[in-house]
C-alpha cells in the first residue's frame, strides 16, 4: 500500500518543529482534510530520531507526504552554545579588527567587570585582503589576488573549516567579494564559504560582518543537519519537497538552507506568528498580537493589516554581549519571564521574578525534581490555576506541598506575607513583565494594543493570557486549538518567501524611478528565479516592494510599503505622504515640510502555497456537554481578591457554540486556559476559545 501511495498520490504535508524541550509534529492530509498532531521530547543527540517519533505519534509516514516542513533550534543553539566550526574571516586590508572592536558601547556601564561581545573568530584567524572600494562602489584599489592566496595558505595550515568574507562597500559592488569567494572555494574545496553580500546588501560593516561570520560559523553543522534529514527522508521513501522555516516565517528549500543557514535562526518563534496570521485570516481579523510563553521566556509578535510585522536585524545573545545579525526577521519582542522563572527576595528586600529560570531540571519546586526555589508555575499551582493531577494530561503529578514550602521559605516569610499573597505577587509581577513583551511589539511601534486581539499559545500562554490582556486593556483573547503544537501548525500555513534588501542612497526628490525600477526588477527576478529552482509548485507568486526612508539628515529609516500603483505612477508626493504617515504612527511625530531620502530598497517574492483549510469541529449547544465537566477547584483571583470555587472543563469535550462564563478553567493535554471572573468564552466553529475579557 505505501508503494501505491508514493508519488502522484502523496497528498500529506508534515511539519516538525524542534524546540528546546519538545518536538512537535503536525500533519495535514489534503484528501481527508485531517490534521494530526504528535508531541515528543526532543532528542538533542539525534534530532532526527525525535522527528521520527513525533511523525509516528502523529500517525503519519514520510512516504505519504508531498511536503516536509521543518523549523529547528539547531542554528541558534550552535551560535549560543558556541559549538560551530573553526572559522576564519577575510576582510579588507586595514580593517582586520573591526569585528572585535564592534560598536565599542558599554551598556553595562557601571560594572567594572563588564564583558563585550566575544567574536566567533579568533583574531589569529582574521586575515586581510588587499583591495578597496569607495562608498559609491568604484574601485580605489584593485583586488590583489596574491593576498587572497597568502590567506588561503594560512587557512589551510590552520585547518579552517569555514570562511566569512567581508569587504567594505560590497553592497554597491560585489565583484571583489565574488572573486575572493571563488578563489577560496578553489583553494579550500572542503570549507564552507560565505560572502557578506550574499546575505546582506545593507551598509554597516560590523553588523554585516557579524552576519557573514555567524553564517559561516554555524554553516557546517547546520548544513550537515539539513543533509542528514534530507538523507533520512529519502531513505524513508519521501519524494516531495523538503522546506525549512526562515526567521521571517517564510519557507525556503533545503538546498538554500544549507547555504544561508543564518536565515533560520528564529524559525520556531516565527512559525508561531505565521500561525496566528493564518488563524486571523480565517477569523476575518486584520490585526492580532501573537503571544508565546514557554519555560524561560515569553515572546510577542504582531500581525498588522494582515501582514506579519518584520524587522531588518536582530541581536543574538543578550544586548550587552550581542552579536548582530542583519537579515529580515519577524519582529519579536522577548522578555525573560516564563513558567520556570524563579522568584526571590534580594539582599535589599526587593521581590524579583526572573530572568533566572529553573529550566526543565530541576524545574519548578512542584515538579518534585529537587527544585527548592519558587517559580511562576508554583505560584499558579498554589492559586489553583493549575491542577496538580492533570498536568501534561496526567503524565506528571505536581507536588503542591513542595511549591508551598518554596514560596513560604523564599518569599512569604522574608516579606511577612501569606503564602497565597506571595503566590499572587509572583504572578502579578510576571504578568506585568510579560505585558512589556506585548507592548514592545505594539504600543512601542505606534499600534494601539488595546484594539488588538491577543492570540496566546505555547504551554504557558493560555494560563496567563486573560491576565495580560487586562493589564494592557485588551478586550479579546483567542486560544487556538492545540496551543502547545501551534508552531508546527503555523508551518503548515507558511509560504515560500525570499527577501531582498539593497542599500541605495538617494534623495526622494531627485530619485530616478527608472533606476529604482531597475534595482527592484533585479531583486524580483532573483526571487522568481530562486522560486523557480525550488521545485515546489506555488499556487501563485506575489511580489511586494518597500522602501526604507528617512528625513534628510536622520539616520534610522522606517520601512514604507509601496503599492504597485503608487510605484507605477511614480508619484513622489504619494510616497512622501505614505512615509510621513508611517513615521507618525511609529513615533507620534512627522515633518511633512521636510525632505525625505531613500536608504534601501526591499523586495519580497512569495510563492503562495495551498493552505490546509481549518477543520470545523462538532457543533454543540450553548451549554457544554456534561462529559466536559471535570468538577470544581478553588481558585484565588487577584483581579477580584477572593477565592472562588471554579468549574473545570475538559477542552476535548467542548463543542462549537458552547459558552462558558468565567471564572472557569479549561484543561487540555499540555495547557490550561484561565477564564477570570467576568470573562465570557465562546467556542468558535473551528474549536478556538474566543474570550471576551470582562470588566474587573
Amino acid at each position: 500500500m505505501p508503494l501505491t501511495m508514493r508519488g502522484w498520490r502523496a497528498s500529506a504535508r508534515i511539519a516538525a518543529d524542534i524546540g528546546g524541550t519538545f518536538t512537535d509534529v503536525a500533519s495535514f492530509d489534503e484528501k481527508t482534510g485531517h490534521l494530526r498532531l504528535g508531541k515528543t521530547l526532543s532528542t538533542p543527540r539525534d534530532l532526527v530520531e525525535g522527528i521520527n517519533t513525533g511523525v509516528e505519534k502523529a500517525g503519519t509516514a514520510f512516504a505519504d507526504a508531498s511536503l516536509f516542513l521543518h523549523g529547528s533550534t539547531v542554528a541558534i543553539n550552535t551560535m549560543l552554545e558556541r559549538s560551530g566550526a573553526r572559522t576564519a574571516l577575510l576582510i579588507t586590508e586595514g580593517f582586520r579588527d573591526i569585528y572585535e572592536i564592534g560598536r565599542i558601547n558599554r551598556p553595562d556601564a557601571y560594572n567594572l567587570y563588564f564583558r563585550k561581545h566575544v567574536p566567533l573568530v579568533e583574531r589569529a584567524l582574521c586575515f586581510e585582503v588587499r583591495e578597496r572600494l569607495m562608498a559609491d562602489g568604484t574601485v580605489l584599489q584593485a583586488l590583489d589576488e596574491a593576498s587572497v592566496d597568502r590567506a588561503c595558505d594560512r587557512m589551510a595550515a590552520e585547518g579552517v573549516e569555514a570562511v566569512a568574507i567581508l569587504l567594505l562597500h560590497c553592497y554597491r559592488n560585489p565583484a571583489h567579494e565574488e572573486r575572493v569567494k571563488a578563489i577560496v572555494q578553489a583553494r579550500l574545496p572542503a570549507a564552507f564559504v560565505t560572502a557578506s553580500h550574499e546575505l546582506s546588501q545593507e551598509y554597516r560593516e560590523f553588523e554585516r560582518c557579524s552576519t557573514a561570520v555567524a553564517n559561516a560559523y554555524i554553516g557546517p553543522r547546520v548544513s550537515r543537519y539539513v543533509q542528514g534529514i534530507d538523507r533520512h527522508l529519502k531513505d524513508a521513501g519521501f519524494t516531495g519537497s523538503f522546506l525549512l522555516v526562515q526567521s521571517t516565517g517564510g519557507l525556503y528549500q533545503s538546498a538554500q538552507a544549507q547555504v544561508e543557514c543564518v536565515r533560520m535562526l528564529e524559525s520556531g518563534p516565527a512559525a508561531g506568528v505565521v500561525g496566528v496570521q493564518a488563524l486571523a485570516r480565517v477569523l476575518g481579523l486584520s490585526d492580532a498580537v501573537a503571544f508565546d510563553m514557554g519555560g524561560t521566556t515569553a515572546k510577542a509578535g504582531v500581525i498588522y493589516q494582515g501582514e506579519v510585522m518584520t524587522t531588518s536585524a536582530a541581536l543574538v545573545g543578550g544586548y550587552n554581549q550581542a552579536l548582530p545579525v542583519q537579515i529580515p526577521m519577524v519582529d519579536i519582542f522577548e522578555v525573560g519571564t516564563g513558567g520556570g522563572s524563579i522568584a526571590l527576595v534580594d539582599e535589599a528586600g526587593a521581590m524579583r521574578v526572573g530572568p533566572q529560570s529553573a529550566g526543565a531540571e530541576p524545574g519548578p519546586a512542584c515538579y518534585g525534581l529537587g527544585g527548592r526555589q519558587p517559580t511562576v508555575t508554583d505560584a499558579n499551582l498554589i492559586l489553583g490555576r493549575l491542577g496538580s493531577e492533570r498536568f501534561l494530561g496526567g503524565e506528571m503529578q505536581l507536588d503542591r506541598a513542595a511549591a508551598e514550602a518554596a514560596l513560604r521559605e523564599r518569599i512569604a516569610e522574608p516579606l511577612g506575607m501569606t503564602v497565597r499573597d506571595a503566590a499572587d505577587g509572583v504572578l502579578r509581577i510576571a504578568i506585568s513583565a510579560m505585558s512589556y513583551a506585548v507592548k514592545g511589539v505594539s504600543t512601542d511601534r505606534g499600534l494601539d494594543a488595546a484594539a488588538f486581539p491577543l492570540v496566546a499559545y505555547g504551554g504557558a500562554g493560555p494560563l496567563h493570557a486573560t491576565s495580560i490582556a487586562r493589564e494592557i486593556g485588551m478586550s479579546r483573547v483567542i486560544i487556538p486549538l492545540a496551543p502547545g503544537h501551534f508552531c508546527a501548525f503555523g508551518m503548515l500555513h507558511s509560504d515560500l518567501r525570499y527577501d531582498f534588501v539593497r542599500t541605495w542612497f538617494t534623495p526622494l526628490a531627485d530619485a530616478s524611478f527608472s533606476e529604482l525600477d531597475q534595482v527592484f526588477r533585479a531583486l524580483i527576478r532573483e526571487g522568481r528565479d530562486t522560486l523557480g529552482r525550488s521545485g515546489v509548485k506555488a499556487e501563485a507568486v506575489a511580489v511586494s516592494r518597500a522602501i526604507d526612508m528617512r528625513y534628510v539628515g536622520q539616520e534610522h529609516p522606517v520601512t514604507v510599503d509601496l503599492t504597485p500603483e503608487v510605484f507605477k505612477r511614480r508619484d513622489r508626493d504619494a510616497i512622501k505622504a505614505l512615509f510621513d504617515a508611517v513615521h507618525l504612527r511609529r513615533y507620534g511625530t512627522c515633518a511633512p515640510g521636510e525632505r525625505a531620502e531613500v536608504v534601501s530598497l526591499r523586495a519580497t517574492v512569495t510563492g503562495v502555497m495551498k493552505k490546509p483549510p481549518l477543520a470545523l469541529i462538532e457543533r454543540g449547544g450553548r451549554v457544554p456537554l456534561r462529559a466536559a465537566r471535570r468538577g470544581e477547584r478553588s481558585c484565588w483571583f487577584a483581579e477580584s481578591s477572593r477565592a472562588v470555587s471554579t468549574p473545570v472543563f475538559d477542552r476535548a469535550w467542548l463543542r462549537a457554540g458552547n459558552r462558558i462564563a468565567g471564572p472557569a478553567l479549561i484543561e487540555e493535554h499540555a495547557s490550561t486556559t484561565v477564564l477570570l471572573p467576568g470573562d465570557r468564552l465562546l467556542v468558535d466553529p473551528w474549536g478556538n476559545l474566543d474570550i471576551e475579557i470582562g470588566d474587573c
Binding site: F95, D97, Y110, L168, A348, I429, T589
Partner: protein
C-alpha cells in the same frame, strides 16, 4: 550632601504659593507593586531612549547615542535614567531641580515643556540641550520626563580652543519652550538664527520632544493603572532598597582614609603644565565621603565642567564600587554618599569658565578614585583606562553639494584597565560614555569626503600585568577634499596606570600625515584648526588599559595566547613577561622558568 553653591546666572524667583505636588507615602505600596513599578520605570526610560535614537538627525545622537533620558519625582530626584552618559548621572537631576527652583512649582502647568542649555546648570557644555516635561496627573504634578541630547552645533567659535563660555555659542537660560501647549516661537527663531545647521537642530529638537512626550505618556499609563499614590509610594521604596543595598556593600569596605593622585597633560593653553588631581575617600561604617577638594582649580582652556559633574564623578565611582548592576539608576543609591566639591575647581567651575570639552577631565578623576581604593578593596577596583573620547572634529565644504558639513570622527574605542581577576577589555568607549556607539566606516564615507585607511587594535598597547590591560585602537583617516581638523586629546604624557605592580598602558596619541610624512611629535595631542589638503591624513591612537599585578605572574600559556592573537609581540613576551616561546609559538617551559628566575636574581 555637601556641594558648592550653584553658579547659575538666573535670579531666584520670589516665593509663591504652594502648588499641588504629589508626595510619596511608602506604606501604600507593597513589595509586589514596587517590583511592577520598577519594571515600569525602566520601560519609561527605555522607550524614551528608543524614540530619541530613532528620530534624531545628528549622528552624535543616533549612532553615538550621546544623550540621557530620565524619569524624575515631582521634586526632581532621579527615579530612572536610561543608560546614557555616566558622567551625566547627576547633571539631569540638577537641571530639573534648577528648573523647579526657577519657576516655582506653581509657575509650572500642564502643557509646559522647559528647556535650557546653560552649561553651569547642566554641568556640561552648551551642546547639551535639555528638555523637560512636568507630568500632571489629575491636575497634580506627579513627576518629570527629561531628555538631554548633544546637538552638533550651537554657534560660537568653530574649532580652536575657547577660554570663556561666550565663545562657545548660544546660551539658553531656563525657559519655557512650550507654555500650556503653545510653542514659544520667539525662542525657536533665536535658536535658528544662532546655529550653523538650523534644519538639523530643529530635527533634533523634534526628536527630543518626541522622547519626553512618549515618556510622559508611558508614565501616565502607570499612574492610571496603579494609582498615583501607590506608584509614588513604590518609587520611594525602590529608592530605599537601592540605598539599603549600597549601604550594605559600603559596610564591607574596610574603614579608613584612602588617597591617590594623578595628572592631566595640560589645559591646552599652557602647554605641558600638568593638571593635578588629588582625591580623598573617607570610609566609615555605612557611609563614604569622596572629597575632591584637591583637584585642580578651574583652568583657562575649555576642559572645565560645572558642579554637578564633580558630584557625578563621585557618584559614578561609588556606584561602580557599591551597586554596579542595580537598576534603575536612582537617587536612593547615593544617599549614603557625601561629596565635597568646593566651587572653582575643574569639576565645579564658575562662570565664565570655558566648558566645551568638559568630558575629558572627570573620567580621570573617577579612575583616580579607583586607584585610591585599591588599598582597601583590590578585588573590586580597576586599573586606569584611556580616559578620552578620542574624537576629532572636522568641517569643510562638501564637494558633493557645496554645503558646509560638520562631523566628528569618533568616539574611538580604547583599552580598559585590568582587574584582580580579569584582563581589560579591548577597544571600548571611555568611562564618560556608556551605551555609546562608534560610527560605521561605510556610513562616514557615504556622508563625508573622508576615506578610512585603517581601523585596528594597537599591538602591545595594553599595560602588562598578571592580568593585561585592554588594547587601544588606531584609525587612519584620509581627507578626500580640504578639511579643517581639530582634536583635543589628553593623557598622552600621563598614560593609564597599572595597579599592584601592573604596568602602564600606552598613552593616547595623535599624528598627521602631511604630503606623505607622518608628524606625531606634538607637544601635546591638542591639534587645533589645522587645514588638511586632499590626500593628507590624521591618525587617532587611543591608549591601552593599565595592567594588574606583576607581569611575571601571568600564566605563560596566556602570554603565548596573546602572542598568537597578536595582542602582545614576541619581544614584549620575552622582555616584559619573560616568557620564552618556540618557533611554533608554544611555551618553552624550561627557558621561561630560567628567564623568570634570572629576573628575580636581578639579572
Amino acid at each position: 550632601m555637601t556641594t558648592s553653591k550653584k553658579a547659575s546666572g538666573s535670579t531666584r524667583p520670589p516665593a509663591r504659593k504652594v502648588a499641588k505636588v504629589a508626595a510619596p507615602r511608602r506604606r501604600i505600596a507593597d513589595a509586589v507593586l514596587t517590583e511592577i513599578v520598577r519594571n515600569g520605570a525602566l520601560a519609561v526610560t527605555e522607550e524614551m531612549k528608543t524614540h530619541l535614537m530613532r528620530t534624531a538627525y545628528n549622528m552624535i545622537i543616533y549612532e553615538a547615542l550621546d544623550f540621557t533620558v530620565g524619569l524624575f519625582t515631582p521634586s526632581g530626584d532621579t527615579v530612572s535614567i536610561g543608560l546614557g552618559l555616566p558622567s551625566f548621572i547627576r547633571g539631569m537631576a540638577n537641571t530639573v531641580q534648577a528648573m523647579i527652583q526657577h519657576f516655582g512649582t506653581d509657575g509650572i502647568e500642564a502643557g509646559d515643556i522647559l528647556v535650557t542649555n546653560d552649561a553651569y546648570t547642566t554641568g556640561s557644555h552648551l551642546y547639551h540641550f535639555t528638555f523637560a516635561v512636568p507630568v500632571f496627573h489629575q491636575g497634580i504634578l506627579s513627576g518629570w520626563t527629561v531628555c538631554m541630547a548633544h546637538w552638533p552645533d550651537v554657534g560660537g567659535q568653530l574649532g580652536g580652543i575657547t577660554t570663556d563660555i561666550y565663545a562657545e555659542g548660544l546660551q539658553i537660560p531656563i525657559l519655557k519652550y512650550q507654555r500650556a501647549g503653545v510653542v514659544n516661537q520667539d525662542l525657536v527663531d533665536i535658536i535658528r538664527m544662532n546655529v550653523r545647521l538650523p534644519d538639523r537642530a530643529m530635527g533634533d529638537l523634534r526628536a527630543q520632544i518626541t522622547a519626553v512626550r512618549s515618556g510622559e505618556r508611558r508614565y501616565l499609563e502607570l499612574l492610571e493603572r496603579y494609582g498615583r499614590e501607590p506608584v509614588l509610594g513604590a518609587i520611594a521604596r525602590i529608592m530605599d532598597q537601592s540605598e539599603r543595598a549600597a549601604r550594605a556593600r559600603t559596610l564591607t569596605i574596610p574603614d579608613g582614609i584612602y588617597e591617590a593622585e594623578s595628572f592631566m597633560d595640560d589645559d591646552g593653553i599652557t602647554v605641558g603644565r600638568r593638571i593635578p588631581i588629588k582625591v580623598k575617600v573617607v570610609k566609615k561604617g555605612e557611609r563614604m565621603t569622596i572629597d575632591l577638594t584637591g583637584v585642580s582649580p578651574q583652568v583657562s582652556g575649555f576642559y572645565n565642567s560645572g558642579p554637578s559633574t564633580g558630584i557625578s564623578c563621585a557618584q559614578v565611582a561609588y556606584k561602580c564600587l557599591t551597586s554596579p548592576t542595580d537598576y534603575p539608576i536612582n537617587e536612593g543609591s547615593f544617599r549614603a554618599l557625601d561629596v565635597i566639591v568646593p566651587p572653582g575647581t575643574i569639576v565645579s567651575a564658575v562662570k565664565p569658565a570655558a566648558m566645551r570639552w568638559w568630558m575629558t577631565f572627570p573620567m580621570t578623576i573617577v579612575d583616580t578614585i579607583f586607584r585610591a581604593m585599591v588599598a582597601a578593596i583590590p578585588e573590586r577596583t580597576i586599573a586606569a583606562h584611556h580616559a578620552d573620547l578620542g574624537v576629532a572634529m572636522i568641517n569643510g565644504i562638501s564637494p558633493r553639494d557645496g554645503r558646509l558639513f560638520l562631523a566628528s570622527i569618533g568616539p574611538s574605542g580604547g583599552g580598559w584597565g585590568a582587574k584582580a581577576t580579569a584582563d581589560g577589555m579591548n577597544g571600548v568607549v571611555c568611562l564618560n560614555d556608556g551605551d555609546t556607539h562608534n560610527h560605521p566606516v561605510e556610513q562616514m564615507e557615504a556622508k563625508y569626503p573622508v576615506l578610512f585607511e585603517r581601523h585596528a587594535l594597537r599591538e602591545d598597547s595594553g599595560g602588562a600585568g598578571r592580568h593585561r590591560g585592554g588594547l587601544g585602537t588606531e584609525q587612519v583617516v584620509r581627507a578626500l577634499s580640504p578639511i579643517n581638523f581639530n582634536i583635543q586629546v589628553d593623557r598622552v604624557h600621563c598614560p593609564p596606570w597599572g595597579l599592584e605592580g601592573g604596568h602602564s598602558g600606552a598613552g593616547n596619541h595623535v599624528a598627521l600625515r602631511l604630503e606623505g610624512r607622518e608628524i606625531g611629535d606634538f607637544p601635546n595631542a591638542k591639534v587645533l584648526s589645522r587645514r588638511l589638503a586632499a590626500g593628507d591624513a590624521f591618525i587617532i591612537r587611543t591608549g591601552g588599559g593599565g595592567g594588574f599585578g606583576d607581569p611575571e605572574g601571568r600564566a605563560p600559556e596566556r602570554v603565548a595566547h596573546d602572542v598568537r592573537q597578536g595582542y602582545v609581540s614576541r619581544a614584549v613576551a620575552d622582555t616584559v613577561y619573560r616568557v620564552v616561546l618556540d618557533a611554533q609559538g608554544l611555551v618553552d617551559a624550561t627557558k621561561t622558568a630560567r628567564s623568570r628566575r634570572r629576573r628575580l636574581r636581578g639579572q
